[in-house]
């Protein structure tokens, strides 16, 4: 018997699995660096997160009587991204609970891959931030400088916890920030390379940018969302982020917190971002504006996570407003 399916009879070699696993691969270099910055428990937390997400996905699909698609890598990617936005000193139980929220409630109860309107990894983080506010906002570790990546496992993390640059800036002001991390021109370099406190995946701007550029080279993402997110953050921080108008530090704003991770890897999630270029630019600008608003006026030092979550459900609306340009629309039809 020959196959008689409808044309086209040839198909591009791309697949959902290939895309997802490629993104996962792009996150491996920042993860490896993070191990050297914060210690080996970073690897354990990430592994727990990835495995729990894949396990929850398999259980959900079995229970809902759907084909099990764990091998497509989307649950693994969610696990990876969720680990990247939690502090390196938390208990191993935390990513397990996050996985249940992200994959069970945030993805499969909404219809599975393609139908979730919030980024599952960020939904998981938001849930953890609400349930474990202390751990999620204080289990920061100062970067290791001696390469002793097993040291925190032995000593326990409570003794060494520190504060993130954004938190210091927000709660204690620029003077304290300079004392803790150096002058802005000094920290550009160390932040870009990765030696600073933060979430697991928020360390190295350089490796995140390289990963994002590789995804662009593969044409998995375009420049539109990352550039509009980062551009808006930089512009609005420069305007409103300083002591007076137009004295903020745009470069520092882009290098701190989850801005680069969010712009390249979270906001570009296919399912929860718009598909037309104009809609993507507006979506990114919305994320940038909400991020700066939360950073400057909100209750949290960092706002990327909530900014993306707030913009996610607007994606279908933006797609409806900004349609692709028709080759030649019917006479008297839409614009």
């Amino acid at each position: 018997m020959w196959n008689v399916s409808v044309s086209p009879h040839v198909r591009s070699p791309e697949s959902v699995g290939k895309i997802m696993w490629t993104v996962v691969a792009c996150l491996v270099p920042p993860l490896v660096l993070s191990i050297f910055v914060f210690g080996i428990q970073v690897l354990l937390i990430t592994a727990v997160s990835v495995i729990s997400c894949m396990a929850v996905e398999a259980i959900c699909q079995k229970a809902l009587n759907k084909p099990v698609t764990v091998s497509d890598g989307s649950a693994a990617l969610t696990g990876m991204l969720m680990a990247f936005v939690i502090p390196p000193g938390v208990s191993f139980l935390i990513p397990v609970l996050g996985a249940v929220m992200a994959i069970f409630i945030g993805k499969h109860l909404l219809g599975g891959i393609g139908y979730n309107f919030f980024n599952p990894a960020l939904l998981g983080r938001a849930f953890l931030l609400a349930t474990f506010p202390v751990a999620m906002t204080s289990a920061w570790l100062p970067p290791l400088t001696d390469g002793a990546i097993f040291s925190y496992l032995a000593s326990g993390v409570d003794a060494v916890s520190t504060a993130t640059p954004l938190a210091v800036m927000k709660e204690q002001g620029m003077a304290a920030f300079r004392e803790a991390f150096g002058t802005p021109s000094e920290v550009y370099g160390s932040f870009f390379l990765g030696w600073r406190p933060g979430c697991i995946g928020e360390t190295s701007g350089l490796l995140l940018v390289l990963g994002g550029l590789y995804l662009m080279y593969r044409r998995y993402i375009t420049w539109h969302i990352p550039v509009s997110v980062l551009g808006t953050i930089a512009l609005l921080t420069w305007m409103f982020g300083g002591e007076t108008l137009f004295t903020g530090d745009p470069l520092l704003a882009v290098l701190t917190g989850g801005a680069l991770l969010g712009a390249f890897f979270m906001a570009t999630d296919y399912v929860t971002s718009p598909t037309t270029r104009t809609a993507q630019l507006i979506f990114g600008a919305g994320i940038g504006a909400l991020t700066v608003l939360i950073r400057i006026k909100g209750g949290y030092p960092e706002g990327v996570c909530y900014a993306i979550l707030l913009m996610n459900p607007l994606s279908p609306v933006l797609d409806g407003w900004f349609k692709p340009k028709r080759f030649a629309p019917p006479a008297g039809g839409e614009k």
Binding site: W2, I19, G114, A328
Partner: protein, 440 residues
């Protein structure tokens, strides 16, 4: 570096896969024992037989005609006798009325002699095109004489010859341009005279440098009269051979939705159709044979074959050394828009440009998964439509709501389904939507 033209929006680059046949000269297939002439060869009204069972016919004799509608007459591709007027298997319609011709393989092939056409009027030339049964043999099968009579309110200033051949695998037009360039150029002059215009542009993709060279040389050699024929190089991109995309690539004009190319002053004909016009007018030979590319990794001897209309695919397979056990899909036409068939017991029609025997490695049978809204189909669509939305609405059993996404402007090129990483059958969704969302 010669600048290459292309259409600006969308399009894809499937593997060209033309290497199997692009260097093979056109080969004449010997007459088979029987020919099966489907009465509805193409778009438009089907023919009615004008011969009775057991009647003897000569090569090129009229066997079926049509009195109204868009149809064109049908001729006997070879001498023989009418064996039956019954039904034949059809790739889409399952079975269809047809004439079976028992071929007299001993008969001398008819000699078609050159004739002067320059003194004929446009009307007489047009009648010859109609009487020869010519339709667009690039694929769609629209009767050629109808396209040569554009509505009076939309005057035409440019004739485009489509030599893009953007479908992978197919090399029939390519070989015709290399081997029969002079005939195509003379055909172009006939078309220009019928249309009463001077300007003709031949568009060829730059993966066919020998065809570009041959056509350019033929145009130069045929110069000296007042016609203005030129050859332009197109960048390789599918679906460049689509009428609207070709017009935009070469002239920059955009044909409005639901309008004919004449609305922007252009008429497009395929290069092989143009050659058929040459044969009809200059030689008096009706459309009874055509070059068909036989390709794919599943056929023992790939070829560019000149076959009689009505030749069964099974006879072609036998002539080409048979097929391997690896064949997973047999496609009439190109791999992007052709039809998969379940039997070899079907005849070649005036619109068959290729028969492909594809192995498992050449096709992709991955089952579909959910749409991940990556938007690649939006980027690939040359018409600026929203295939993903059409698919989602059809899956949600709301095909009647898909017109807003442009379902009726879709010409089913398959670019969206080609790029879809979730392997969604977007062309199938579009067809379902069109069937169910009939315009009110």
């Amino acid at each position: 570096m010669v600048s290459t033209l292309t259409f600006p929006k969308g399009g894809v680059h499937p593997p060209e896969s033309k290497g199997l046949t692009e260097q093979l000269p056109i080969q004449v297939m010997p007459l088979p024992a029987e020919l099966h002439l489907i009465l509805g060869q193409h778009i438009g009204a089907p023919c009615t037989p004008t011969v009775a069972k057991k009647a003897a016919v000569g090569e090129g004799d009229l066997v079926a005609d049509v009195s109204k509608g868009l149809g064109v007459p049908l001729h006997a591709p070879a001498a023989g006798s009418i064996k039956a007027i019954a039904t034949a298997a059809h790739p889409i319609r399952v079975t269809t009325p047809s004439i079976t011709l028992a071929v007299d393989r001993e008969a001398q092939p008819r000699q078609w002699t050159a004739d002067q056409w320059q003194q004929l009027t446009a009307q007489e030339l047009l009648q010859k095109v109609h009487d020869a049964g010519i339709v667009g043999i690039g694929g769609a099968g629209f009767p050629t004489h109808v396209k040569l009579k554009p509505p009076a309110d939309t005057p035409v200033d440019t004739l485009l010859l489509n030599g893009a051949e953007c479908e992978p695998y197919i090399t029939a037009d390519h070989r015709s341009m290399v081997e029969k360039a002079e005939e195509i150029v003379e055909g172009a002059k006939i078309l220009l005279k019928i249309l009463g215009i001077k300007t003709c542009v031949v568009g060829i993709e730059n993966n066919k440098p020998d065809a570009i060279a041959a056509m350019t040389a033929a145009v130069r050699a045929a110069g000296g009269d007042d016609s203005d024929i030129s050859v332009v190089t197109l960048q390789v991109k599918y679906p460049q051979g689509s009428e609207k995309q070709l017009i935009q690539a070469i002239t920059g004009r955009k044909v409005p939705a639901m309008a004919l190319p004449s609305a922007v002053g252009v008429v497009v004909h395929n290069v092989s159709t143009t050659r058929a016009v040459y044969e009809a007018v200059a030689l008096g030979k009706p459309l009874i044979e055509k070059v068909v590319t036989i390709s794919g990794r599943g056929i023992v001897k790939p070829a560019n074959l000149l076959v009689k209309i009505g030749t069964k695919v099974s006879d072609i397979v036998e002539y080409c050394g048979g097929i391997s056990d690896e064949v997973a899909k047999v496609v009439l036409g190109g791999p992007m828009m052709g039809f998969a068939v379940s039997t070899l017991d079907i005849p070649v029609t005036k619109t068959t440009s290729a028969v492909l025997f594809l192995t498992k490695e050449e096709i992709d049978t991955t089952p579909l998964s959910s749409c991940i809204r990556c938007g690649w189909c939006l980027d690939a669509c040359p018409m600026g439509l929203e295939p993903k939305e059409i698919g989602l609405y059809v899956e949600a059993n709301r095909p009647e709501n898909t017109e807003q996404f442009g379902v009726f402007e879709c010409f089913e090129c398959g670019s969206c389904a080609y790029v879809c990483p979730a392997k969604r059958p977007l062309v199938q969704f579009v067809r379902l939507a069109k069937m169910k969302a009939k315009r009110s």
